[in-house]
C-alpha cells in the first residue's frame, strides 16, 4: 500500500494526466484538484508547473489570481453571502452583519469547530430573489436572519 503522501501524489498526477489533452488545461486542473482535496495541496503546484512546462512562480501566480483557489482547507461547509448591489438593496448588508455575529467570524473566517467558513461573493444571479446565499453550491434566496440561523444550525455551526 502507498503511503498517504505518495497516494496523494499519484492521484494528483492522475488528475493532471486526465486533463492533458485539453487546450489551456490550467484552470480545469486546479478546479479538479480542489474538488478532490477541498484546496490545492502544496505539492500539486510544482507537479502542475512541470506538466505544463511553466515555472512554479507562474503557476503560483495563476492560482493566487483567482478568488476561488486556496492553498489551505476550509470548513466542512462553505457559506457564501452575496454582497453586490441588488442584494444590498434588499438588506444584504444587515444579513452579512447578522451572519458574522451569529457565527462569530469575519469574512473568510471559519467557525472554531471547523464546521463553516464564511465567504463573500459578488452576485449569484439570484438578484431578483435577493438577498441570496450559496451553501456548498446550493443556492438559497430571500434569506432573512431566521433562515440564516437555520442554515448555520443545519451546517453544525
Amino acid at each position: 500500500m502507498l503511503a498517504p503522501q505518495a497516494a496523494q501524489h499519484s492521484r494528483i498526477a492522475e488528475i493532471i494526466a486526465e486533463h492533458s489533452a485539453l487546450e489551456g488545461p490550467m484552470l480545469p486542473i486546479l478546479h479538479a484538484v480542489q474538488a478532490e482535496y477541498g484546496h490545492v495541496p502544496a505539492e500539486a503546484l510544482p507537479m502542475i508547473a512541470d506538466a505544463l512546462n511553466i515555472s512554479r512562480a507562474e503557476a503560483q501566480g495563476v492560482m493566487s489570481f483567482y478568488h476561488d483557489f486556496r492553498d489551505h482547507p476550509l470548513g466542512r461547509h462553505v457559506l457564501k453571502i452575496c454582497r453586490a448591489e441588488a442584494c444590498q438593496a434588499r438588506g444584504a448588508g444587515a444579513l452579512a452583519e447578522a451572519a458574522k455575529a451569529r457565527l462569530g467570524v469575519d469574512w473568510h473566517g471559519t467557525t472554531p469547530g471547523g464546521a463553516l467558513t464564511l465567504e463573500p461573493v459578488f452576485c449569484l444571479g439570484l438578484c431578483a430573489c435577493a438577498p441570496a446565499v450559496m451553501l456548498d453550491g446550493q443556492v438559497i434566496g430571500r434569506v432573512d436572519a431566521a433562515r440564516l440561523d437555520q442554515i448555520a444550525t443545519e451546517a453544525g455551526a
Binding site: 485539453l22 487546450e23 489551456g24 488545461p25 490550467m26 484552470l27 480545469p28 486546479l30 478546479h31 505544463l52 501566480g61 495563476v62 489570481f65 483567482y66 478568488h67 476561488d68 483557489f69 453586490a84 448591489e85 441588488a86 442584494c87 444590498q88 438593496a89 434588499r90 461573493v121 459578488f122 452576485c123 449569484l124 444571479g125 439570484l126 438578484c127 431578483a128 430573489c129 435577493a130 441570496a132 450559496m134 453550491g137 443556492v139 438559497i140 434566496g141 430571500r142
Partner: protein
C-alpha cells in the same frame, strides 16, 4: 397530466426542489399519471416557485407555491386555490413582453432536443448550413444586432473581421461570465434553453470558419453549468455538434469552461487569458481578439445573449429583428429587473421603453412601498439614475447621452433608505477587490478612492474635489472599463445625490 416546476436556480433558491418532490410524492400516493417537467423559469421571479399545469385552454399557473401547498392543489384538481393565477400567458408581466431570444425559456424541458425542435429549434442552423459564410454574416449585420455583453459593438462587423482573417484555426468563444450585479439573463438562458446558445455558436462557427468553441461560464453558476454541460453532451450525441454538424460535413467542437471567481475575466481579453490558463489580466488592444484572440488565433468573442439571438435572426430573417427597437438600438433587449421592486425578473422587450415605465409599470415600484431614490443601470460600472431620468428611453444612445450605460441591461432599484455615499464607496471597494492589477489608476486609485470617500463621510469637504479628480484620472488612465467606468456609479451618485455627500460641517452650519 403535465405539471411544470422550474429547475432554474432562482426557482430552486426559493424552494422549487421541495415543490417538485411534493408533486412526485402526491402523484404517487394518489396513483395519478403525472408527468413532471423541470422547465426553465418564465422570469417572474416574485412568483417562484411557479407551478404550471397543462390544460386544453393552455397552461395555468400557481405561485409562489410551497411544498405544503401541493396536496391542496391536487385536492382542488388544480382549479380554485388561493395561489391560482389563471392562464400563465395572460399574466400582464409576461403578456406585455416581446419574446424573441427567450421565446422558449420556461416553455420547454431545457434538455429535450425534440421539444426544442418542435418549438422551432435548429431551423436557423439548417438555414445557415445552406448559406455561404458571407451571407450569414450579412444577415446578422442586417439585423442590427449589437453585442449584449455591454459594449454594444455590432456583431456583424465583428464576425466579418474574423471571417476575413486568414488562419488554420479559428475560435468562437461565448462570454458567459455574467458577473454584473442585477444580471441573470445569461444564466436563465443557459438553464432554460441551452440548445439556443449551442445553435447560435454553431451558426457563428459556420459564419467565420471556426471549428472549435468554448463557453466560459462562472463558478458562481453551478446549476447553469450542469445544464449547459449536459446540453453539450446531448447535442454532440445527436450530431448537432461534432465532426459533421447535422450532416453538413462541417466540424464544430464545443466545450464548457468554468472560471474561478474573478469579475475581470468577463472582460474579453482577460477571459481569453484565463481560458489559456493564465492570470486573467487584461490585454492591450490592438491586436483585437477578432484577429489575435484565443491562442493568438482569430476569435469571435460574444455574449450569451448576442449568440442566442442569432438562431431566430436566421430562422425569421433580419427584417423580423430589425422591426423592433429604436434608432440604432435594434431588436429586443432582455431586461433584468432586481433590487427593491415588487415584480423582479426577466422582461424581454424592444428597445425604446422608458426607464420610468420599466420601474413603475413593469416592476411595480418598490417592494418596500417607499419612494424610489436611485436606479443603477448596467451593473456595478453603470450610473445611478435619479427619478428625474425616468423619461429616458432604453437604448444605447440615450443612456450614453445621459452619462450612463445600458451594459448587460440589469436594473437595480433602490428606495429612499439607500445611502448613496455608501454605494459610491462600494463601487470603489469592488473595483479595488476585482482589479486585475495591470494599471495604476485602477489598482491604486480604487483603494485611494475608498479612503477619500471615508474622509468625506467623516466631514472633510475638501475631499470632494479630490474624489472627482481621482475619478477623472481613473477614467482617462485605465486600460479597460473596470477602472475606466467605476467613476460612473461614483460620480453619478455625487452629482445626483449631493445631500448624501454633505459633510458633517455643512450639515451643522
Amino acid at each position: 397530466m403535465r405539471i411544470f416546476v422550474p429547475r432554474d436556480a432562482a426557482a430552486k433558491a426559493v424552494g422549487a426542489e421541495a415543490v417538485a418532490a411534493a408533486v412526485r410524492a402526491e402523484a404517487a400516493a394518489r396513483g395519478l399519471p403525472v408527468e413532471l417537467v423541470r422547465n426553465g423559469s418564465r422570469g417572474m421571479v416574485w412568483l417562484e416557485p411557479l407551478l404550471e399545469v397543462e390544460t386544453s385552454e393552455g397552461r395555468i399557473a400557481f405561485g409562489p407555491v410551497t411544498a405544503a401547498d401541493v396536496p391542496a392543489l391536487f385536492d382542488a384538481g388544480f382549479g380554485a386555490h388561493p395561489k391560482a393565477l389563471g392562464l400563465t400567458a395572460e399574466i400582464p408581466f409576461l403578456k406585455k413582453q416581446t419574446r424573441f431570444t427567450f421565446a422558449r425559456v420556461g416553455l420547454i424541458d431545457p434538455l429535450s432536443l425534440s421539444e426544442y425542435q418542435a418549438q422551432g429549434g435548429l431551423a436557423g442552423l439548417h438555414k445557415a448550413i445552406a448559406m455561404s459564410p458571407e451571407a450569414i454574416v450579412a444577415e446578422v449585420a442586417d439585423s442590427g444586432l449589437r453585442g449584449r455583453g455591454g459594449a454594444g459593438f455590432p456583431t456583424g462587423i465583428k464576425w466579418k473581421t474574423v471571417l476575413g482573417a486568414e488562419a488554420a484555426q479559428k475560435y468562437v468563444v461565448c462570454n458567459a461570465d455574467e458577473g454584473d450585479s442585477g444580471t441573470f439573463a445569461d444564466r436563465m438562458l443557459m438553464e432554460g434553453d441551452p440548445f439556443t446558445l449551442i445553435e447560435g455558436m454553431a451558426i457563428a462557427a459556420l459564419a467565420v470558419g471556426a471549428t472549435r468553441g468554448y463557453i466560459y461560464s462562472r463558478s458562481e453558476y453551478p446549476d447553469a453549468n450542469e445544464v449547459m454541460g449536459q446540453a453539450i453532451a446531448i447535442a454532440r450525441a445527436a450530431g448537432v455538434l461534432g465532426p459533421d454538424m447535422l450532416g453538413s460535413g462541417r466540424a464544430f467542437e464545443l466545450e464548457l469552461r468554468v472560471g474561478a471567481g474573478a469579475y475581470v475575466c468577463g472582460e474579453e481579453t482577460a477571459l481569453l487569458n484565463s481560458l489559456e490558463g493564465k492570470r486573467g489580466v487584461v490585454r492591450a488592444k490592438p491586436p483585437i481578439p477578432a484577429l489575435q484572440g484565443l491562442f493568438g488565433q482569430p476569435t469571435v468573442v460574444n455574449n450569451v445573449l448576442s449568440l442566442a439571438a442569432v438562431p431566430e435572426i436566421l430562422a425569421q430573417g433580419a427584417a423580423a429583428y430589425v422591426a423592433h427597437g429604436v434608432g440604432r438600438s435594434r431588436g429586443t433587449i432582455p431586461l433584468q429587473i432586481a433590487g427593491n421592486v415588487r415584480f423582479g425578473g426577466l422582461f424581454e422587450t424592444g428597445f425604446g421603453i422608458t426607464l420610468g415605465e420599466i420601474v413603475n409599470d413593469i416592476a411595480g415600484g418598490t417592494a418596500s412601498g417607499r419612494p424610489v431614490k436611485a436606479v443603477q443601470v448596467g451593473g456595478p460600472l453603470g450610473a445611478y439614475h435619479p427619478v428625474s431620468d425616468f423619461g429616458l428611453p432604453f437604448s444605447y444612445e440615450d443612456f450614453a447621452g445621459s452619462g450612463g450605460l445600458v451594459g448587460h441591461a440589469g436594473l437595480v432599484v433602490h428606495d429612499d433608505s439607500v445611502d448613496m455615499l455608501q454605494m459610491a464607496r462600494f463601487a470603489l471597494e469592488f473595483c479595488a477587490i476585482e482589479s486585475c492589477g495591470k494599471c495604476t489608476p485602477c489598482r491604486i486609485g480604487a483603494v485611494r478612492g475608498v479612503e477619500v470617500v471615508d474622509r468625506i463621510a467623516a466631514g472633510d469637504a475638501a475631499a470632494i474635489p479630490l474624489l472627482t479628480d481621482l475619478c477623472q484620472t481613473m477614467k482617462l488612465g485605465s486600460l479597460c472599463a473596470l477602472g475606466g467606468f467605476t467613476p460612473y456609479p461614483v460620480l453619478s451618485a455625487l452629482t445626483h445625490f449631493p445631500d448624501d455627500f454633505a459633510t458633517l460641517q455643512e450639515a451643522a452650519e
